[in-house]
Symmetry: C2
């Protein structure tokens, strides 16, 4: 069972290309910047288990202490560092990894337990609040860090203590006598345990992951035959109407995807990162397929159903998911406001990373371009926008439009700092997202999901297969492929994802017939053998799209290739209302402008595209007005669109909008 | 200081006219039906203070016991009955009023206390939870019932015990030593105390109302110098994160309009009925103007500001207010979804009644047609829709569109039954809303706010002034006035509200010049003397309007005169999605159809007005689609609109929609 966190090693990004530049930035700037942040904030030395004054801070989001995720912040940084160190050595980063690992080892309790909060701040209370306290979430990230560390260094410096911790967890949790029949409020350990199982082959690791997945949301769990979170809350002495900040109503267990068993869920609900991590684990379980096929029969339809619900009804044009701030997650079907003043638009960076994770797994279950489209969309928009061009500033929320209360801006770190190191580790193993492959002794099948200048190098039997992509993607859509083999001949079937937005693509040389299935162009081994070089052309032109009619968003978007565009105040005369009142004439000429500062990109200018403004002045006559639409006329003016990922990088006052108003009063 | 609850006695509705028929229905059906409901549910005998099994029911909305409002249900029924008994005697209703009054008298405790819950269910806990427990709200309704009873019967059978209760409250609440520095979570007693003060002249009644109004939201109240609800919650042993169901977050005191002092509030927030009752009391305080003018200086701008915020940004085309179900109240500016599946549309009947109350008070402070427009809009739409044509079934929530989870339907009663008797009492004193007047020894000024067939009869000195309106309003817009005086001549100035929707009105005979100020046509005493008969013509034609652009509702409404229209499934071939997918061509002919079953009304048929349907089928390609709007074509078909107040009266399956989709994909 392949994971991108491992297969990325087969990919080399072409120097100076789009992603090579960004990954270089992560190596040179981001890792160092985040290391500095870890040190400044107390996280770096937290595993030394000294008291930190911040441990006494009141919870920003009750009942979750602000420092509760520190373990995972460190773990994700280690994980990302280990992926990036595979590119080239870096003594400073290397030393920090070693020191952190030593501290983590030192933090382990005699019985294997390993958690900062419950060792330093609330000793004796471990495993008393799985619903809220991120204990097992932290454990999951430690497992993932240990796997990356083990792969990179080939030692068990981190893996050994983590395995000891997992032994404790496996002994603690389950349906057996004297076991806790619980599961984590924030999924993560499930997918980590399945990755671990692949390395260790230890059936306890698989068992524990399955238990966490399958017991989740059981209304009659444990010997109490009740919902575990109820039992647990009672045991803590929690009162029925005492509820976490993120619960709009009592027992809002849908927040944790625990309102019913996963097998019975029909819509994607609650905290969006949790949902993605959980479903990724479910997909991994399906891929692994233990037992008699029942896993597949039960969970494949669930994956299909929840994915469709999410993509069709609960995701943004950028790929972002989760409209609602209070629970950082999904709202009603088609409830997709664009900004805080419209009622939401959370679209957390980690959630979009989660969509990529899930899409990648689903592509391995079923090669379907819809998954690849979503993966590409998230990568270039909702994820990439999460990091600044210098790699030192980040976003947590990725709204589609700013408002006075939420400007479009970046921060060097967050109190809850899940997103920054998540971007780091994702870019660390990005190569693993580009393609998937199956290899036999003499043949290979390579599915190309993402296009960028990079080379895949695979051992096939005694031979070595190389597939190189040359392209300026996402600036332009020509991709030249070169397939070479050294050693004995290898039969190579190549399948190229045809992006859904590419309505006018072509392949050359042209095959006698095009074999396109579910969004992939299948190039047979024979054809590839004849054509060691071929070129896919997906012309990129500015295009206009509109959200689904049931979202009731009277706006149009500008996109180009995989990129969604936005307008920013820095490119325009000052508009005081975040471009909310502008009317966009989509019929105007969309002119491309190639720019090279602060980075290479293509701006799109809608010449005289802003035709007027909504008149939002006093409106006391509304109850009687023939038409409440009023337009202030004025000289039409240009609108300048830039890639959404570029936002909040070039100065300005934080006014930004993706979808511009298009409806016309009649 | 005039109140419509008293001035209604000067109005006689013309038999068989629109409102006369409805008020007759209330007398013959509604009062009896509601009396039966009071008896069936245990409310009727509740003041006997026996235990009722329902007292043990779990709270539907914690921490509010389901029976907590029973006192007020009974009080509002008595109040309504007393208004309607003024029309004509009714021995059965009369007997029930007397019996209820006897039971209320018997329920009073030796110290004057009078409340069912805290006498029977939680004795000893009185006044320990003003925030949630409706104790003072119930007291307010008892006061209003006592005033109506006192006026109708001329006895103090109910007023005397209520005055004793108020004495206890006045001793209990205030800023003095040993007084509770609190105020009710649900305003009502404030406006009741001010009405009471006008009758009693007892300064304690004014003082207590002022204290409740002015202390509200004080962050440094009482000797504790803290917010009263915090102090009170601590005293109850409530935990910081224990919160009522209607609090989305801890300390959501905006729910009760207690997040800051009223004088500092700039937007209308929270539970919409509470907001209206509170602001009505504030308006009454301004009208009363005790002290040195500071009240006016402080609160008049607040009233103007909050009214404008509500009408411009937080109210529906029907006059309904309050989008959000969880707190039965206001959402963000311009957040006005039309149905549950769009995120809300509560528009509680009581809240629209509250808008009428507030508008009526504001009209007395400042004669401005905007207030009259809102009052008329609510009356004919958001309020009138709250009762069925037979007067025996009601709505609580008045959404603009049905959905599968919330059909358009009526119920004979509710667990929380505030709305049905509120409609009863409102129609009981409806005459008081039609006009306001000031009378001196020899002259009168009459402001006509609402048009209907009715006669105003006023004593002016020794003379009697009569102003009769003849009209078929709201079916047609011609209103003939006849002004007659018996006895000595009276100088009568008449001011006619020109409805905002009447863009093409005329008055005949035509005055030499039209004196229109703030939406009222001023007819001088001289002119009226010359023209004892005159006619206002406000042509009623079907018209199309659209919601404010910032609501982002891509719909159009059909209205005619003061009536907002809707479509219902009973008039159409079956549409499975609540008319959500239909595209409405507003350019089609709107044909009027006069109907007489089940009541007289004018239907509006948009011939071939339904042009197609949105295609809401699977949409996995959205992330790449050029346009996500798809229309299923089909034979254009007629749309039949009926007045919104008529909905859910003529069979059908509960599918209904006010605003139909009009935006056209481009």
């Amino acid at each position: 069972m392949e994971y991108p966190q491992e297969s990325f090693l087969t990919t080399v990004f072409t120097p100076d290309s789009f992603w090579a530049r960004r990954r270089q930035l992560v190596r040179s700037n981001t890792l160092r910047h985040q290391l500095q942040m870890l040190k400044q904030t107390g996280r770096y030395e937290a595993f030394c288990l000294h008291w930190h004054p911040r441990y006494a801070d009141p919870c920003t989001v009750w009942p979750v202490p602000n420092h509760l995720f520190w373990d995972s912040d460190v773990a994700k940084w280690i994980e990302g560092a280990c992926y990036l160190l595979a590119d080239q050595p870096d003594p400073e980063i290397d030393a920090a990894v070693h020191e952190l690992v030593q501290m983590i080892r030192g933090a382990q309790q005699p019985d294997g337990y390993l958690n900062i909060h419950y060792t330093v701040v609330e000793p004796g209370k471990r495993f008393t609040n799985l619903r809220d306290m991120h204990e097992l979430y932290n454990a999951g990230h430690l497992i993932e860090a240990a796997l990356a560390h083990h792969r990179h260094y080939g030692t068990d410096g981190l893996l050994a203590p983590i395995l000891k911790y997992v032994d404790l967890l496996a002994a603690t949790f389950g349906g057996g006598e004297n076991q806790i029949p619980g599961y984590p409020g924030h999924p993560e350990i499930e997918l980590a345990l399945l990755r671990l199982y692949r390395v260790t082959g230890n059936k306890q690791h698989l068992r524990l992951a399955r238990f966490f997945i399958e017991e989740r949301g059981n209304p009659h769990g444990g010997t109490a035959r009740r919902h575990f979170y109820d039992v647990e809350a009672d045991a803590r002495g929690e009162r029925p109407h005492e509820r976490p900040m993120y619960f709009p109503l009592p027992r809002s267990y849908w927040y944790q995807q625990a309102h019913k068993p996963i097998a019975e869920q029909e819509t994607v609900e609650g905290h969006s990162v949790r949902a993605m991590y959980l479903l990724t684990a479910v997909a991994d379980l399906v891929r692994l397929g233990p037992g008699d096929g029942e896993i597949q029969t039960t969970y494949r339809p669930v994956l299909t159903c929840l994915w469709a619900n999410m993509i069709e009804k609960k995701s943004y044009v950028t790929g972002g998911i989760g409209a609602i701030k209070q629970w950082e997650g999904f709202g009603l079907d088609y409830f997709l406001p664009h900004s805080t003043d419209e009622g939401g638009c959370y679209a957390e960076t980690c959630a979009a990373i989660g969509v990529m994770m899930l899409a990648e797994r689903l592509l391995r279950i079923e090669l379907d371009g819809h998954y690849g489209d979503a993966m590409e969309l998230c990568l270039y928009n909702a994820v990439l926008t999460g990091m600044s061009l210098d790699g030192k500033a980040f976003t947590y929320v990725n709204q589609l439009a700013s408002s006075d209360t939420d400007l479009s801006e970046r921060h060097e770190w967050f109190e809850c700092a899940c997103c920054p190191p998540n971007v780091t580790r994702t870019l660390g193993f990005l190569g693993g997202y580009l393609w998937s492959h199956t290899v036999t002794e003499k043949s290979a099948v390579v599915n190309v999901h993402l296009y960028t200048a990079a080379t895949l190098r695979l051992a096939v039997g005694e031979s070595t297969l190389e597939i190189a992509q040359q392209t300026e993607w996402p600036m332009e859509g020509n991709v030249s492929f070169t397939v070479t083999t050294s050693g004995a001949p290898v039969a190579v079937e190549v399948r190229l994802r045809i992006p859904g937005w590419a309505t006018d693509w072509e392949i050359s040389p042209a095959p006698s017939s095009l074999d396109v299935r579910n969004g992939y162009l299948y190039l047979s081994a024979d054809w590839v053998k004849q054509h060691g070089q071929f070129c896919l052309r997906c012309p990129m032109m500015a295009r206009i799209s509109r959200p689904h009619a049931l979202t009731r968003q009277p706006v149009a978007y500008v996109s180009r290739g995989p990129l969604v565009y936005c307008v920013e105040d820095v490119d325009h005369p000052w508009e005081k209302n975040h471009f909310k009142d502008i009317l966009f004439d989509t019929k105007t000429l969309l002119r491309e402008e190639r720019r090279s500062t602060p980075d290479q990109y293509i701006a799109i200018v809608a010449e005289k595209g802003a035709r007027g403004s909504l008149d939002n002045s006093s409106w006391l006559s509304k109850i009687v007005a023939e038409s409440c639409y009023k337009i202030r006329d004025g000289e039409p003016r240009d609108l300048c669109f830039v890639p959404y990922y570029l936002r909040a990088n070039r100065g300005g006052r934080g006014h930004m909008r993706v979808g511009l108003r298009v409806d016309v009063p009649t």
